[in-house]
Symmetry: C2
Subunit: 210 residues, 2 copies
Amino acid sequence: MKICIFEDNTHLRESLQLLIDATAGFHCVGAFPNCKNLLEKFSDVSCDICLMDIGMPGISGIEATKIIKESYPEIQVLIQTVFSDDDNIFKAICAGASGYILKTSSPAEYIQAIKDVKSGGAPMSPSIASRVLQLFKLNFQPLTKEEYHLTDKEKLVLQQLVEGKSYKMIADELTISVETIKTHMKNIYAKLHVHSSTEAVSKALQERII
Amino acid sequence: MKICIFEDNTHLRESLQLLIDATAGFHCVGAFPNCKNLLEKFSDVSCDICLMDIGMPGISGIEATKIIKESYPEIQVLIQTVFSDDDNIFKAICAGASGYILKTSSPAEYIQAIKDVKSGGAPMSPSIASRVLQLFKLNFQPLTKEEYHLTDKEKLVLQQLVEGKSYKMIADELTISVETIKTHMKNIYAKLHVHSSTEAVSKALQERII
DNA sequence: TTTAATATCCCCCGTTTTCGGTATTGTGGC
DNA sequence: GCCACAATACCGAAAACGGGGGATATTAAA
Protein backbone atom coordinates (compact mmCIF):
# COMPACT_ATOMS: atom_id res chain seq x y z
CA MET A 1 0.00 0.00 0.00
CA LYS A 2 1.80 3.07 -1.26
CA ILE A 3 0.71 6.33 0.29
CA CYS A 4 1.37 9.97 -0.49
CA ILE A 5 0.87 12.83 1.95
CA PHE A 6 -0.05 16.41 1.15
CA GLU A 7 0.06 18.58 4.24
CA ASP A 8 1.60 21.99 4.74
CA ASN A 9 2.13 21.66 8.46
CA THR A 10 5.61 20.21 8.77
CA HIS A 11 5.06 18.64 12.14
CA LEU A 12 1.84 16.88 11.17
CA ARG A 13 3.27 15.82 7.83
CA GLU A 14 6.26 14.16 9.46
CA SER A 15 4.12 12.56 12.12
CA LEU A 16 1.85 11.08 9.50
CA GLN A 17 4.83 9.83 7.56
CA LEU A 18 6.22 8.13 10.64
CA LEU A 19 2.85 6.67 11.49
CA ILE A 20 2.37 5.23 8.03
CA ASP A 21 5.85 3.81 7.68
CA ALA A 22 5.49 2.24 11.11
CA THR A 23 2.36 0.42 10.05
CA ALA A 24 2.72 -3.02 8.55
CA GLY A 25 1.89 -3.09 4.88
CA PHE A 26 1.93 0.69 4.51
CA HIS A 27 4.65 2.66 2.88
CA CYS A 28 4.89 6.39 2.46
CA VAL A 29 6.20 7.16 -1.02
CA GLY A 30 6.00 10.92 -0.79
CA ALA A 31 5.21 13.78 1.58
CA PHE A 32 4.71 17.29 0.26
CA PRO A 33 3.81 20.64 1.80
CA ASN A 34 1.99 21.89 -1.29
CA CYS A 35 0.80 20.91 -4.75
CA LYS A 36 3.43 22.50 -6.91
CA ASN A 37 4.12 20.41 -10.02
CA LEU A 38 1.43 18.11 -8.77
CA LEU A 39 1.22 15.66 -11.63
CA GLU A 40 4.97 15.32 -11.96
CA LYS A 41 5.05 13.78 -8.50
CA PHE A 42 3.09 10.81 -9.79
CA SER A 43 4.93 10.38 -13.05
CA ASP A 44 7.83 8.51 -11.47
CA VAL A 45 6.45 6.97 -8.29
CA SER A 46 3.32 4.86 -8.22
CA CYS A 47 0.83 5.58 -5.48
CA ASP A 48 -2.39 3.99 -4.23
CA ILE A 49 -3.76 6.48 -1.76
CA CYS A 50 -3.27 10.20 -1.18
CA LEU A 51 -3.77 11.78 2.21
CA MET A 52 -4.84 15.26 1.26
CA ASP A 53 -5.10 18.41 3.31
CA ILE A 54 -7.46 21.12 2.05
CA GLY A 55 -5.92 24.30 3.44
CA MET A 56 -2.59 24.40 1.71
CA PRO A 57 -0.97 27.46 0.17
CA GLY A 58 -1.36 27.66 -3.60
CA ILE A 59 -3.51 24.91 -5.03
CA SER A 60 -6.11 23.76 -2.53
CA GLY A 61 -6.52 20.11 -1.68
CA ILE A 62 -9.88 20.09 -3.41
CA GLU A 63 -8.44 21.43 -6.63
CA ALA A 64 -5.61 18.95 -6.28
CA THR A 65 -8.08 16.10 -5.83
CA LYS A 66 -9.85 17.08 -9.02
CA ILE A 67 -6.58 17.25 -10.93
CA ILE A 68 -5.31 13.93 -9.60
CA LYS A 69 -8.58 12.13 -10.36
CA GLU A 70 -8.51 13.43 -13.91
CA SER A 71 -5.10 12.01 -14.69
CA TYR A 72 -4.96 9.11 -12.24
CA PRO A 73 -8.52 8.04 -11.48
CA GLU A 74 -7.25 4.88 -9.80
CA ILE A 75 -5.56 6.87 -7.04
CA GLN A 76 -7.86 7.18 -4.03
CA VAL A 77 -7.84 10.52 -2.27
CA LEU A 78 -8.57 10.66 1.42
CA ILE A 79 -9.25 14.19 2.60
CA GLN A 80 -7.89 15.02 6.06
CA THR A 81 -8.61 18.52 7.17
CA VAL A 82 -9.82 20.83 9.92
CA PHE A 83 -12.71 22.09 7.81
CA SER A 84 -16.10 20.60 8.46
CA ASP A 85 -18.27 23.17 6.71
CA ASP A 86 -20.80 22.06 4.13
CA ASP A 87 -19.14 23.83 1.27
CA ASN A 88 -15.82 22.05 1.64
CA ILE A 89 -17.49 18.69 2.19
CA PHE A 90 -19.64 19.22 -0.85
CA LYS A 91 -16.79 20.24 -3.09
CA ALA A 92 -14.49 17.51 -1.86
CA ILE A 93 -17.02 14.83 -2.67
CA CYS A 94 -17.72 16.28 -6.08
CA ALA A 95 -13.99 16.45 -6.73
CA GLY A 96 -13.88 12.71 -6.23
CA ALA A 97 -12.63 12.20 -2.70
CA SER A 98 -12.92 8.65 -1.35
CA GLY A 99 -13.19 9.72 2.24
CA TYR A 100 -13.14 12.73 4.51
CA ILE A 101 -11.67 12.66 7.98
CA LEU A 102 -10.93 15.40 10.43
CA LYS A 103 -7.47 16.11 11.77
CA THR A 104 -8.82 15.54 15.24
CA SER A 105 -8.81 11.85 14.39
CA SER A 106 -6.53 9.60 16.40
CA PRO A 107 -3.61 7.75 14.78
CA ALA A 108 -5.63 4.55 15.00
CA GLU A 109 -8.50 6.24 13.19
CA TYR A 110 -6.16 7.51 10.50
CA ILE A 111 -4.87 4.00 9.91
CA GLN A 112 -8.35 2.54 9.98
CA ALA A 113 -9.52 5.15 7.47
CA ILE A 114 -6.73 4.25 5.08
CA LYS A 115 -7.59 0.58 5.44
CA ASP A 116 -11.23 1.39 4.76
CA VAL A 117 -10.34 3.25 1.59
CA LYS A 118 -8.19 0.35 0.50
CA SER A 119 -11.08 -2.07 0.89
CA GLY A 120 -13.47 0.11 -1.09
CA GLY A 121 -15.13 1.93 1.77
CA ALA A 122 -15.57 5.62 2.32
CA PRO A 123 -14.35 6.56 5.78
CA MET A 124 -15.76 9.72 7.24
CA SER A 125 -15.51 11.22 10.67
CA PRO A 126 -18.87 10.81 12.38
CA SER A 127 -19.77 14.48 12.20
CA ILE A 128 -18.85 14.56 8.52
CA ALA A 129 -20.96 11.53 7.71
CA SER A 130 -23.83 13.18 9.46
CA ARG A 131 -23.39 16.38 7.44
CA VAL A 132 -23.23 14.37 4.23
CA LEU A 133 -26.55 12.72 4.97
CA GLN A 134 -28.02 16.10 5.84
CA LEU A 135 -26.76 17.65 2.63
CA PHE A 136 -28.04 14.71 0.68
CA LYS A 137 -31.45 14.98 2.20
CA LEU A 138 -31.67 18.75 1.90
CA ASN A 139 -30.76 18.77 -1.73
CA PHE A 140 -33.01 15.96 -2.76
CA GLN A 141 -35.88 16.27 -0.49
CA PRO A 142 -37.36 19.54 -1.67
CA LEU A 143 -39.68 17.07 -3.21
CA THR A 144 -42.99 18.61 -3.80
CA LYS A 145 -44.59 19.09 -0.42
CA GLU A 146 -47.72 20.19 -2.17
CA GLU A 147 -49.62 17.74 -4.22
CA TYR A 148 -50.71 19.18 -7.49
CA HIS A 149 -52.93 16.29 -8.54
CA LEU A 150 -51.61 16.22 -12.07
CA THR A 151 -53.11 13.41 -14.10
CA ASP A 152 -50.90 10.93 -15.93
CA LYS A 153 -51.44 12.66 -19.22
CA GLU A 154 -50.69 16.04 -17.77
CA LYS A 155 -47.46 14.74 -16.28
CA LEU A 156 -46.55 13.28 -19.65
CA VAL A 157 -47.14 16.57 -21.38
CA LEU A 158 -45.20 18.43 -18.72
CA GLN A 159 -42.39 15.94 -19.10
CA GLN A 160 -42.17 16.62 -22.81
CA LEU A 161 -42.32 20.34 -22.19
CA VAL A 162 -39.36 20.04 -19.85
CA GLU A 163 -37.50 18.36 -22.66
CA GLY A 164 -37.92 21.56 -24.60
CA LYS A 165 -40.55 20.45 -27.05
CA SER A 166 -43.18 22.70 -28.58
CA TYR A 167 -46.90 22.00 -28.43
CA LYS A 168 -46.79 20.72 -31.97
CA MET A 169 -43.93 18.35 -31.24
CA ILE A 170 -45.63 17.05 -28.11
CA ALA A 171 -48.82 16.52 -30.06
CA ASP A 172 -46.94 14.49 -32.66
CA GLU A 173 -45.13 12.55 -29.98
CA LEU A 174 -48.33 11.56 -28.20
CA THR A 175 -50.30 11.37 -31.44
CA ILE A 176 -53.03 13.69 -30.25
CA SER A 177 -54.14 17.07 -31.48
CA VAL A 178 -52.35 20.29 -30.65
CA GLU A 179 -55.65 21.54 -29.33
CA THR A 180 -55.63 18.78 -26.76
CA ILE A 181 -52.15 19.77 -25.68
CA LYS A 182 -53.40 23.29 -25.24
CA THR A 183 -56.21 22.04 -23.04
CA HIS A 184 -53.81 19.98 -20.98
CA MET A 185 -51.54 22.99 -20.62
CA LYS A 186 -54.41 25.12 -19.42
CA ASN A 187 -55.16 22.53 -16.75
CA ILE A 188 -51.49 22.24 -15.80
CA TYR A 189 -51.21 26.01 -15.46
CA ALA A 190 -54.28 26.09 -13.25
CA LYS A 191 -53.02 23.27 -11.06
CA LEU A 192 -49.48 24.61 -10.71
CA HIS A 193 -50.67 28.21 -10.41
CA VAL A 194 -48.40 29.38 -13.20
CA HIS A 195 -49.00 31.42 -16.32
CA SER A 196 -46.28 30.45 -18.75
CA SER A 197 -44.44 27.43 -20.01
CA THR A 198 -41.15 28.60 -18.59
CA GLU A 199 -42.68 28.94 -15.16
CA ALA A 200 -44.19 25.48 -15.45
CA VAL A 201 -40.88 23.93 -16.49
CA SER A 202 -39.09 25.74 -13.72
CA LYS A 203 -41.56 24.55 -11.11
CA ALA A 204 -41.57 21.04 -12.50
CA LEU A 205 -37.80 20.76 -12.29
CA GLN A 206 -37.32 22.49 -8.98
CA GLU A 207 -40.04 20.57 -7.21
CA ARG A 208 -39.29 17.37 -9.06
CA ILE A 209 -42.81 16.76 -10.24
CA ILE A 210 -41.56 15.55 -13.56
CA MET B 1 -30.23 4.83 25.87
CA LYS B 2 -33.62 3.38 25.00
CA ILE B 3 -33.74 1.34 21.84
CA CYS B 4 -36.53 -0.12 19.74
CA ILE B 5 -36.11 -2.93 17.23
CA PHE B 6 -38.10 -3.51 14.06
CA GLU B 7 -37.13 -6.76 12.43
CA ASP B 8 -39.35 -9.49 11.05
CA ASN B 9 -36.85 -12.31 11.44
CA THR B 10 -37.58 -13.66 14.88
CA HIS B 11 -34.15 -15.07 15.44
CA LEU B 12 -32.30 -11.91 14.52
CA ARG B 13 -34.77 -9.77 16.43
CA GLU B 14 -34.23 -11.73 19.62
CA SER B 15 -30.48 -11.81 19.14
CA LEU B 16 -30.40 -8.05 18.76
CA GLN B 17 -32.55 -7.64 21.81
CA LEU B 18 -30.21 -9.81 23.84
CA LEU B 19 -27.18 -7.97 22.50
CA ILE B 20 -28.58 -4.58 23.38
CA ASP B 21 -29.78 -5.50 26.82
CA ALA B 22 -26.39 -7.06 27.50
CA THR B 23 -24.63 -3.82 26.69
CA ALA B 24 -24.02 -1.35 29.47
CA GLY B 25 -26.14 1.77 29.14
CA PHE B 26 -28.41 0.26 26.50
CA HIS B 27 -31.91 -0.90 27.07
CA CYS B 28 -34.29 -2.44 24.59
CA VAL B 29 -37.76 -0.97 25.13
CA GLY B 30 -39.50 -2.76 22.29
CA ALA B 31 -38.97 -5.35 19.58
CA PHE B 32 -41.50 -5.75 16.79
CA PRO B 33 -41.76 -7.94 13.70
CA ASN B 34 -43.67 -5.32 11.71
CA CYS B 35 -44.97 -1.77 11.76
CA LYS B 36 -48.62 -2.32 12.58
CA ASN B 37 -50.00 0.49 14.72
CA LEU B 38 -46.60 2.06 14.42
CA LEU B 39 -47.19 5.35 16.19
CA GLU B 40 -49.07 3.76 19.05
CA LYS B 41 -45.90 1.96 20.01
CA PHE B 42 -44.28 5.28 20.84
CA SER B 43 -47.22 6.85 22.61
CA ASP B 44 -46.54 5.07 25.88
CA VAL B 45 -42.85 4.20 25.86
CA SER B 46 -40.14 6.76 25.17
CA CYS B 47 -37.40 5.75 22.77
CA ASP B 48 -34.13 7.28 21.60
CA ILE B 49 -33.07 5.09 18.72
CA CYS B 50 -34.86 2.69 16.38
CA LEU B 51 -33.08 -0.18 14.72
CA MET B 52 -35.07 -0.53 11.53
CA ASP B 53 -35.18 -3.32 8.99
CA ILE B 54 -36.33 -2.42 5.49
CA GLY B 55 -37.77 -5.68 4.21
CA MET B 56 -40.67 -6.23 6.54
CA PRO B 57 -44.15 -7.39 5.57
CA GLY B 58 -46.68 -4.57 5.39
CA ILE B 59 -45.18 -1.15 5.92
CA SER B 60 -41.55 -1.07 4.80
CA GLY B 61 -38.84 0.23 7.06
CA ILE B 62 -38.40 3.24 4.83
CA GLU B 63 -42.05 4.17 5.05
CA ALA B 64 -41.89 3.58 8.78
CA THR B 65 -38.86 5.86 9.07
CA LYS B 66 -40.73 8.62 7.31
CA ILE B 67 -43.74 8.21 9.56
CA ILE B 68 -41.69 8.11 12.75
CA LYS B 69 -39.67 11.18 11.79
CA GLU B 70 -42.85 13.10 11.10
CA SER B 71 -44.32 12.52 14.53
CA TYR B 72 -41.16 12.02 16.56
CA PRO B 73 -38.32 13.85 14.82
CA GLU B 74 -36.10 13.42 17.86
CA ILE B 75 -36.06 9.63 17.47
CA GLN B 76 -33.00 8.53 15.50
CA VAL B 77 -33.56 5.74 13.03
CA LEU B 78 -30.71 3.41 12.21
CA ILE B 79 -31.41 1.30 9.16
CA GLN B 80 -30.11 -2.27 9.31
CA THR B 81 -30.83 -4.29 6.24
CA VAL B 82 -29.54 -6.68 3.61
CA PHE B 83 -30.27 -4.21 0.81
CA SER B 84 -27.38 -2.21 -0.52
CA ASP B 85 -28.89 -0.99 -3.76
CA ASP B 86 -28.84 2.68 -4.60
CA ASP B 87 -32.58 3.06 -4.54
CA ASN B 88 -33.00 1.85 -0.98
CA ILE B 89 -30.04 3.86 0.23
CA PHE B 90 -31.37 6.93 -1.48
CA LYS B 91 -34.87 6.57 -0.10
CA ALA B 92 -33.71 5.74 3.39
CA ILE B 93 -31.61 8.88 3.58
CA CYS B 94 -34.42 11.02 2.24
CA ALA B 95 -36.78 9.44 4.76
CA GLY B 96 -34.52 10.76 7.48
CA ALA B 97 -32.40 7.79 8.54
CA SER B 98 -29.45 8.60 10.79
CA GLY B 99 -27.39 5.68 9.63
CA TYR B 100 -27.41 2.64 7.38
CA ILE B 101 -25.68 -0.58 8.28
CA LEU B 102 -25.78 -3.98 6.70
CA LYS B 103 -26.94 -7.09 8.53
CA THR B 104 -23.56 -8.62 7.82
CA SER B 105 -22.20 -6.30 10.51
CA SER B 106 -20.74 -7.92 13.60
CA PRO B 107 -22.31 -7.44 17.04
CA ALA B 108 -19.46 -5.08 17.90
CA GLU B 109 -20.21 -3.05 14.80
CA TYR B 110 -23.91 -2.93 15.68
CA ILE B 111 -23.09 -1.58 19.10
CA GLN B 112 -20.56 0.86 17.71
CA ALA B 113 -23.11 2.09 15.18
CA ILE B 114 -25.67 2.75 17.89
CA LYS B 115 -23.06 4.62 19.88
CA ASP B 116 -22.18 6.66 16.80
CA VAL B 117 -25.79 7.61 16.27
CA LYS B 118 -26.08 8.58 19.90
CA SER B 119 -23.10 10.94 19.59
CA GLY B 120 -24.47 12.61 16.48
CA GLY B 121 -22.65 10.59 13.87
CA ALA B 122 -24.00 8.73 10.89
CA PRO B 123 -22.69 5.19 10.89
CA MET B 124 -22.65 3.44 7.55
CA SER B 125 -21.17 0.16 6.46
CA PRO B 126 -18.13 0.92 4.32
CA SER B 127 -19.75 -0.17 1.08
CA ILE B 128 -22.79 1.94 1.87
CA ALA B 129 -20.73 5.01 2.62
CA SER B 130 -18.99 4.53 -0.66
CA ARG B 131 -22.29 4.28 -2.53
CA VAL B 132 -23.56 7.41 -0.80
CA LEU B 133 -20.55 9.39 -1.97
CA GLN B 134 -21.01 8.01 -5.47
CA LEU B 135 -24.66 8.96 -5.51
CA PHE B 136 -23.84 12.36 -4.15
CA LYS B 137 -21.26 12.97 -6.81
CA LEU B 138 -23.39 11.67 -9.63
CA ASN B 139 -26.32 13.83 -8.75
CA PHE B 140 -24.52 17.03 -7.96
CA GLN B 141 -21.58 17.18 -10.15
CA PRO B 142 -21.97 20.34 -12.14
CA LEU B 143 -22.84 18.51 -15.31
CA THR B 144 -21.98 21.55 -17.29
CA LYS B 145 -18.75 20.31 -18.76
CA GLU B 146 -19.32 22.64 -21.62
CA GLU B 147 -18.76 26.29 -21.16
CA TYR B 148 -21.38 28.36 -22.85
CA HIS B 149 -19.65 31.73 -22.48
CA LEU B 150 -22.81 33.49 -21.43
CA THR B 151 -22.19 37.12 -20.57
CA ASP B 152 -23.29 38.54 -17.23
CA LYS B 153 -26.31 40.20 -18.77
CA GLU B 154 -27.28 37.03 -20.56
CA LYS B 155 -27.07 35.06 -17.34
CA LEU B 156 -29.20 37.67 -15.65
CA VAL B 157 -31.84 37.44 -18.33
CA LEU B 158 -31.75 33.66 -18.19
CA GLN B 159 -32.10 33.81 -14.45
CA GLN B 160 -35.24 35.90 -14.75
CA LEU B 161 -36.58 33.61 -17.41
CA VAL B 162 -36.13 30.67 -15.05
CA GLU B 163 -38.19 32.58 -12.55
CA GLY B 164 -41.01 32.46 -15.05
CA LYS B 165 -40.98 36.06 -16.19
CA SER B 166 -41.97 37.27 -19.64
CA TYR B 167 -39.80 39.44 -21.86
CA LYS B 168 -41.73 42.50 -20.82
CA MET B 169 -41.34 41.75 -17.12
CA ILE B 170 -37.63 41.12 -17.52
CA ALA B 171 -37.27 44.34 -19.44
CA ASP B 172 -38.99 46.25 -16.64
CA GLU B 173 -36.90 44.47 -14.01
CA LEU B 174 -33.63 45.37 -15.71
CA THR B 175 -34.97 48.71 -16.96
CA ILE B 176 -34.06 48.06 -20.54
CA SER B 177 -36.14 47.71 -23.67
CA VAL B 178 -38.01 44.55 -24.57
CA GLU B 179 -36.16 44.70 -27.86
CA THR B 180 -32.91 44.30 -26.01
CA ILE B 181 -34.27 41.29 -24.18
CA LYS B 182 -35.11 39.83 -27.55
CA THR B 183 -31.54 40.34 -28.67
CA HIS B 184 -30.18 38.77 -25.51
CA MET B 185 -32.49 35.81 -25.93
CA LYS B 186 -31.33 35.28 -29.48
CA ASN B 187 -27.76 35.17 -28.25
CA ILE B 188 -28.62 32.85 -25.38
CA TYR B 189 -30.39 30.47 -27.76
CA ALA B 190 -27.40 30.44 -30.06
CA LYS B 191 -24.95 29.82 -27.23
CA LEU B 192 -26.99 27.09 -25.57
CA HIS B 193 -28.02 25.55 -28.87
CA VAL B 194 -31.70 25.67 -28.00
CA HIS B 195 -34.73 26.94 -29.84
CA SER B 196 -37.28 27.81 -27.21
CA SER B 197 -37.56 29.39 -23.82
CA THR B 198 -38.63 26.15 -22.18
CA GLU B 199 -35.57 24.39 -23.54
CA ALA B 200 -33.35 27.19 -22.30
CA VAL B 201 -34.88 27.07 -18.82
CA SER B 202 -34.60 23.31 -18.75
CA LYS B 203 -30.95 23.38 -19.76
CA ALA B 204 -30.18 26.19 -17.35
CA LEU B 205 -31.65 24.30 -14.42
CA GLN B 206 -30.36 20.86 -15.27
CA GLU B 207 -26.83 21.99 -15.99
CA ARG B 208 -26.85 24.55 -13.19
CA ILE B 209 -25.76 27.42 -15.37
CA ILE B 210 -28.10 29.78 -13.62
C1' DT C 1 -78.20 7.38 -11.19
C1' DT C 2 -76.26 11.58 -10.98
C1' DT C 3 -71.95 13.75 -10.48
C1' DA C 4 -67.15 14.57 -11.00
C1' DA C 5 -62.91 13.88 -13.19
C1' DT C 6 -60.33 12.78 -17.23
C1' DA C 7 -59.16 12.86 -22.02
C1' DT C 8 -60.11 14.28 -26.26
C1' DC C 9 -61.13 17.87 -29.86
C1' DC C 10 -62.49 22.56 -31.89
C1' DC C 11 -62.80 27.89 -32.58
C1' DC C 12 -61.39 32.60 -31.76
C1' DC C 13 -58.46 36.35 -30.79
C1' DG C 14 -54.99 38.98 -28.95
C1' DT C 15 -50.36 38.66 -27.21
C1' DT C 16 -45.86 36.82 -27.04
C1' DT C 17 -42.11 34.73 -28.89
C1' DT C 18 -38.82 33.49 -32.50
C1' DC C 19 -35.84 34.66 -36.00
C1' DG C 20 -34.17 37.26 -39.84
C1' DG C 21 -32.10 41.65 -40.25
C1' DT C 22 -29.72 46.43 -39.07
C1' DA C 23 -27.49 49.80 -36.11
C1' DT C 24 -25.28 52.64 -32.35
C1' DT C 25 -22.44 53.07 -28.34
C1' DG C 26 -18.78 51.98 -25.01
C1' DT C 27 -14.88 49.26 -23.63
C1' DG C 28 -10.67 46.71 -23.63
C1' DG C 29 -6.89 44.81 -26.30
C1' DC C 30 -3.47 45.00 -29.80
C1' DG D 1 -6.77 53.82 -34.52
C1' DC D 2 -8.86 49.52 -35.37
C1' DC D 3 -11.22 45.41 -34.03
C1' DA D 4 -14.00 42.42 -31.40
C1' DC D 5 -17.50 42.12 -28.29
C1' DA D 6 -21.03 43.34 -25.13
C1' DA D 7 -25.03 45.95 -24.48
C1' DT D 8 -28.37 48.60 -26.22
C1' DA D 9 -32.32 49.41 -29.51
C1' DC D 10 -35.50 48.93 -33.56
C1' DC D 11 -38.30 46.57 -37.53
C1' DG D 12 -41.28 43.02 -39.39
C1' DA D 13 -43.29 38.50 -40.44
C1' DA D 14 -44.34 34.00 -39.18
C1' DA D 15 -45.05 30.98 -35.63
C1' DA D 16 -46.33 29.81 -31.11
C1' DC D 17 -48.69 30.61 -26.97
C1' DG D 18 -52.51 31.98 -23.37
C1' DG D 19 -57.03 32.49 -22.14
C1' DG D 20 -61.75 32.48 -23.23
C1' DG D 21 -65.42 29.75 -24.75
C1' DG D 22 -67.83 25.12 -25.94
C1' DA D 23 -68.32 20.00 -26.91
C1' DT D 24 -68.25 14.82 -26.41
C1' DA D 25 -67.02 10.21 -24.54
C1' DT D 26 -65.39 7.38 -20.83
C1' DT D 27 -64.83 6.17 -16.32
C1' DA D 28 -64.98 6.34 -11.51
C1' DA D 29 -67.03 7.84 -7.43
C1' DA D 30 -70.99 9.25 -4.59
